[in-house]
Structure formats: structure tokens, C-alpha cells
Amino acid sequence: MNVIETLEFEGPIASLLKEIDALDLLPATDARDREVASLRRRLDSTRADLYATLTPWQRVQVARHPSRPGLEEFIRVLFSGFVELHGDRRFADDHALMTGFADYNGQPVLLVGHVKGGDTKEKIYRNFGYARPEGYRKALRAMRLAEKFGRPIIVFVDTPAAYPGIESEERGVAEAIAVNIRDMMLLDTPVIVVVSGEGGSGGALGIAVGDRVLMQEFAIYSVIPPEGCAAILWRHSNKKVEAASALKLTAPDLLKVGIIDEIIPEPVGGAHADPDTATRLVDEALQRALADVSAVDAAARLKARYDKFRNIGRLGREFVDEGNEVPSGSSLPLRDRSNAELPRRTPRTERSLKGQPPRQ
């Protein structure tokens, strides 16, 4: 029996799965087995066709798939002897963000990542992967521990966003994220980030500064969820499909602008269709990245990490210097001009006075 939930665009896959299930219930005969085998071949080719041309919005749906392997699955398959570390030592233990140490191919590493939860009860316990400020503070505390003892850090990102609630604001979620981003930049130990599901804006970036940022093929990473973007810019949340395309939140798009370093391929049909293969592919990429980064000495590694983020948004590509059309390759062109040459701006409250000097 197939128990994988199918997404709405996976209609052809769902009907094939249903047929196979129905045939499975019949008495086993050669004719039935042949029929099942041919249906399976059709299933594979349908999947391959469908997944070769996923639209950005469909990728969003795949990235959010409830059966998509997440941190807990990775811990179970790839790591051994996991010991969870709880609490930020200040306020509470956040359940949406998990930290702990484990062995990865015999090497002790620190694991940090979001957990969304499986069934409804667990989802509520995990707050649907929306971490509160104490989650980010716990993450930094654990990462400091890894730094102190020279253990590499592996981060799995899968969150819709940081929790937007009253208590989050009261306890300074913005400050918690900001401090994490700043301090992760100087953490003196290898940091590998894997965006495995939803990379939801600041909630993701708050644990996602590393030497390598890897991303699974159908994961997404965005400044705002498509629904939110549609609600603000289109003033209608059902424009989410258009917003998903406009935001360029897919792995290939992000690789192009240097936001991620590598795409981890997923099996045909997405990670949820074949979690074992998906996990193995993550494992391969992770081993390679960790070996590469660990081989570099600390100072060079930190410099490379800084440069990587410093150079996101490049002169001549994402922005231009209109006053200084200099040949490319020269150092930062800086043209200063004194205040006197600036167009004098009138603040909003003065603007209406134009042409009508006050009588005095």
C-alpha cells in the first residue's frame, strides 16, 4: 500500500497509485504482476515528466510536503548516538528548533535544525516549525559549545518563518536572529548549512550563515512566503502562484546569484516519494562539503565565509554605479560629492508650501 499523500498537481500520479493499490488486492497471478509492472513503469515516466517541469509554486508545495524527510529523519538515518540539548539557559526550551550532538561517520558533530512535526499533535508541539526567540538563543548557545570544542556544525533549515506572535516580539525575536547572524559569521569551526525544505526569511537565515550553503533540489528559500508577498504587492493572497514565480525562490535561481553553493539532487518525484534515496544524496553532498571545508585552515575559512556573503549583490550585475562607468576589474569605485551639490530635498511637511510662501 502506498500511503504517500499526493499534491494537487500530482493528479496523474495519484490515479496510477490508486490503480496499483487496487491490483495489489487481487490474487497474485502472472497477468496481474505484468499489469502492475507496466503501471509502475508508467508511474515512473509520469513522475519524471511532471518533475522535470515543476513551476515555482509547485516547488513550494513539494518543499512543504508533509512526508518530506526532515531533521528527525536525517538524524535517524545519517547520524548515530544523537543526544538532544535543550534550552537557551535564559527563558525556555523551544521545540521548533532542535539542537544536539551526534556522530557523523565516526566524527562528533553538532546538529541544529528546525522540526515541523509529523502528526497534528506533534505539529502543535513543534509549533509547525515556527521557532521563538529562545530557539535562536538555544542554537547559538549550542554552536558556541561546538566552537569551544572544535566540533563542526551541520544545520538543517526547514521553517515557514520565525514565530510571528506577541511573545516573540516581547522577547526580542529580531534581536535573537540578528545576533545569530552576526556571531555565526565569526564562529571558529566549520559550518555546513543544508536548506532541506522551506527557507523562510529571517527565521531561516537566523541559523543559516555557514561556509557552505547546500540546498535540496526542490527546497525553497525566500525573503517572504509567496502568500505574504501576494497579499502585500498584489493585495490578494490568491496571487501566490504569480508571487512564487516572481520571487525566484527555487534552488536553480538561487545558485545563479550565488546565494547557495550547490544543489543536492532529489530522486524523481521529490524527496517525499523516495526518502531513502533523498537521504543518501544529502549524505554524499554533506560528506564532500564537510571534508572540503575542514581541510582549509581556520583563518582562510572565516575569510572565505565572510567574502561569500559580502559578495552577494555584485557591482555590474545586481547593482550599478551610474556615476562611475569604470572598466570592470578595478577596485571599488567611490565617488564622493559634497552636500552642496546634492539636490535639496524638502521634507513632506514642507513640500506643500511650494509656490506659496507663508505670510508673515
Binding site: 518563518a161 520565525a162 510571528p164 506572535g165 506577541i166 516573540s168 516580539e169 522577547r171 526580542g172 525575536v173 529580531a174 536572529i177 540578528a178 545576533v179 547572524i181 552576526r182 559569521m185 565569526l186 526569511s201 529571517g202 537565515l205 537566523g206 550563515v209 525566500s222 525573503v223 517572504i224 505574504g228 508577498c229 504587492l233 498584489w234 520571487l247 525566484k248 546569484v257 546565494i259 559580502r310 552577494i312 549583490g313 550585475r317 545586481e318 547593482f319 550599478v320 554605479d321 551610474e322 571599488l332 567611490l334 565617488r335 564622493d336 560629492r337 559634497s338 546634492l342 535639496r344 530635498r345 521634507p347 513632506r348 511637511t349 514642507e350 506643500s352 508650501l353 506659496q356 507663508p358
Partner: protein, 308 residues
């Protein structure tokens, strides 16, 4: 029924009369609902003389309130290339054009170096009228260069935040500016140079969750909206009305997120005083102060103004 018809006429008549008053000469303060003479407002740094309501001001105006005299502006001509070729109900390029025409700036920030009571300081001020002061690649780059410049000059850094957050039209590139700026601030912090973050109305989203909250001092103007998630998003999540004053400067002060609240008219003196505490020295000739140079008792003033 005739009773009611009669009473309507005089109301209509008064409406016509009101058009004789020249437009924009007087302004109704949203804080106290009193009528203010516009010139009184502009000579008072756009603070309501009656209720201390702080009107939002532009980036250039902000720099004028902080610097002693003229300043040197940096990276004037950096402009976005619309890297995602983003179009919502309107192309992003058209939005950029409209904002450039309206503000005379090429993006939502001005960076300048000048004197604050004689202390050479790099100041970055965000411009709300440019697509909501949002942070895209250009804002990220200009702030990062401002930090690098301050690091080179070994002088203090002040960033005046006034922004709705990261700029959606540049997608994840905008998000990554948070990491770029925070990284530069990490090095700035290590160099033991002072950084003051000034929070003004509004400071939200990715700006709050990066450089706005990382100052050696985080100081705010009274009643400014400061938060991570927008109030409407939070209301949708928790499905109830938010309490009065939620995410205002006074709320953040109470929750321990900012050092003090300070009136705009005392902002410059407060910054200079704090910079001196953090080891900065006046190297530029300070011009004769327009107002008497009295060192304000910062925390007292802050509490006074917020209670009014």
C-alpha cells in the same frame, strides 16, 4: 420629515468655505489633533510643538539634524538593476523610477561622513519615501561600505533606521543583505569601534532582525513602531486584536530591547554624549552650537518625553 432636511443645509455650506484656507499652511497633528502652523513644525525638526508627536522625516533632513555642517556623501550613484526582473501589479523598474523622481535619490538610503559635535562620524540614514525604505542590494551594499569606511577611518558609525524591512522585489538577494551587513558589523564590533543604531518610525522586518538591533546602543524616537513581524501579520496569526502601544518604542524599552528613548531635538546631543563615552574624540572644528550645549541627563529626558 422636513425637520431633517433643514438641518442638512448649513453643514454643506461650511464645507465650501474651508477651501479658502491655503492648502498646506496649517497641519493637523495626528498625535494631539491640534492645528499646527507648518513653519513652526519645520523649525522644530518636525516635532509637534504641542504634543511632541514626531513626524516622519526624510534621509537628507535627518542628516541635517545630526551633522554640524556640511557632510560628504558616499556612493551617491549606486542603483539597482532589477536583478529578478520583478513585476507585480506594476514593474519594479517603474516603481524605482517613480521613487527616484519623487525623492531625488537612487535608492532608499543616504550615507555621509561629517561632524557630530566635532566627532567625525559615518552616518547612514534610510529614506522611507523610497519604496517604504526597504532594503535591497543597493541599501545593503551602501550600509556595508559605510561600515567598511568607518572601520578604515576608525571612526564611529550611526545608522538611522526607517524601513519596512527587506525589499521583496529583489527576493532572497534582499534577505542576504542582512547577512552581509551583520558580517561587516561583526568585524566592526571586534575592532571596538562605537556603533549607535537609531530606531525611528517604522523599523520592522529584516532591518530590525539585523543591524537595527546590533548597536552598542539601540536608541529610539518616541512612539516609533519597532518590531519584527508586522502588526497585521501577528493579528492574523493569533486571531485577536493587539494591545494598545504594542511594538512602540515605549513597549520595547519596557521589554528591555532598547537603551533609551530620546526626543529628536535632543538626539544629536545624546549621540555625541554616548560617542564620547565610547571613546570618540572631537577632531573636527565644531561650529557654534545653535542651542546651548548642555549635556542632557539622557535617561531622565527620555522618560519625561515618553510620558507626555
Amino acid at each position: 420629515m422636513a425637520w431633517f432636511k433643514k438641518t442638512r443645509k448649513p453643514i454643506a455650506a461650511t464645507k465650501e468655505k474651508s477651501s479658502r484656507v491655503p492648502e498646506g499652511l496649517w497641519l493637523k497633528c495626528p498625535g494631539c489633533a491640534q492645528v499646527i502652523y507648518n513653519k513652526d513644525l519645520s523649525t522644530n525638526l518636525n516635532v509637534c510643538p504641542k504634543c511632541v508627536h514626531h513626524f516622519r522625516i526624510g534621509a537628507a533632513e535627518r542628516l541635517r539634524t545630526l551633522f554640524d555642517a556640511e557632510w560628504t556623501e558616499h556612493d551617491v550613484d549606486l542603483a539597482s538593476t532589477d536583478p529578478l526582473e520583478f513585476t507585480d501589479t506594476k514593474p519594479y523598474k517603474a516603481r524605482l523610477q517613480a521613487s527616484r523622481a519623487a525623492t531625488g535619490l537612487k535608492d532608499a538610503i543616504i550615507v555621509g561622513t561629517g561632524g557630530i559635535e566635532g566627532i567625525c562620524t559615518v552616518v547612514a540614514a534610510m529614506e522611507y519615501d523610497f519604496i517604504g525604505g526597504s532594503m535591497g542590494v543597493v541599501v545593503g551594499e551602501k550600509i556595508t561600505r559605510a561600515i567598511e569606511r568607518a572601520l578604515d577611518l576608525r571612526c564611529p558609525l550611526v545608522i538611522v533606521c526607517c524601513s519596512g524591512g527587506a525589499r521583496m522585489m529583489e527576493g532572497a538577494l534582499s534577505l542576504m543583505q542582512m547577512a552581509k551587513i551583520c558580517g561587516a558589523l561583526a568585524h566592526f564590533d571586534k575592532a571596538r569601534l562605537p556603533y549607535i543604531s537609531v530606531l525611528t518610525d517604522p523599523t520592522t522586518g529584516g532591518v530590525t532582525a539585523s543591524f537595527a538591533m546590533l548597536g552598542d546602543l539601540n536608541i529610539a524616537e518616541p512612539m516609533a513602531l519597532i518590531g519584527f513581524a508586522g502588526p497585521r501579520v501577528i493579528e492574523q496569526t493569533i486571531r485577536q486584536k493587539l494591545p494598545e502601544g504594542f511594538q512602540r518604542s515605549e513597549f520595547l524599552l519596557e521589554k528591555g530591547m532598547i537603551d533609551f528613548i530620546i526626543d529628536r531635538r535632543e538626539m544629536k546631543a545624546a549621540i555625541a554624549r554616548a560617542l564620547r563615552f565610547m571613546g570618540a574624540r572631537a577632531t573636527l572644528p565644531a561650529p557654534a552650537p545653535a542651542s546651548p550645549a548642555v549635556e542632557p541627563e539622557l535617561s531622565h529626558l527620555a522618560i519625561e518625553s515618553s510620558r507626555q
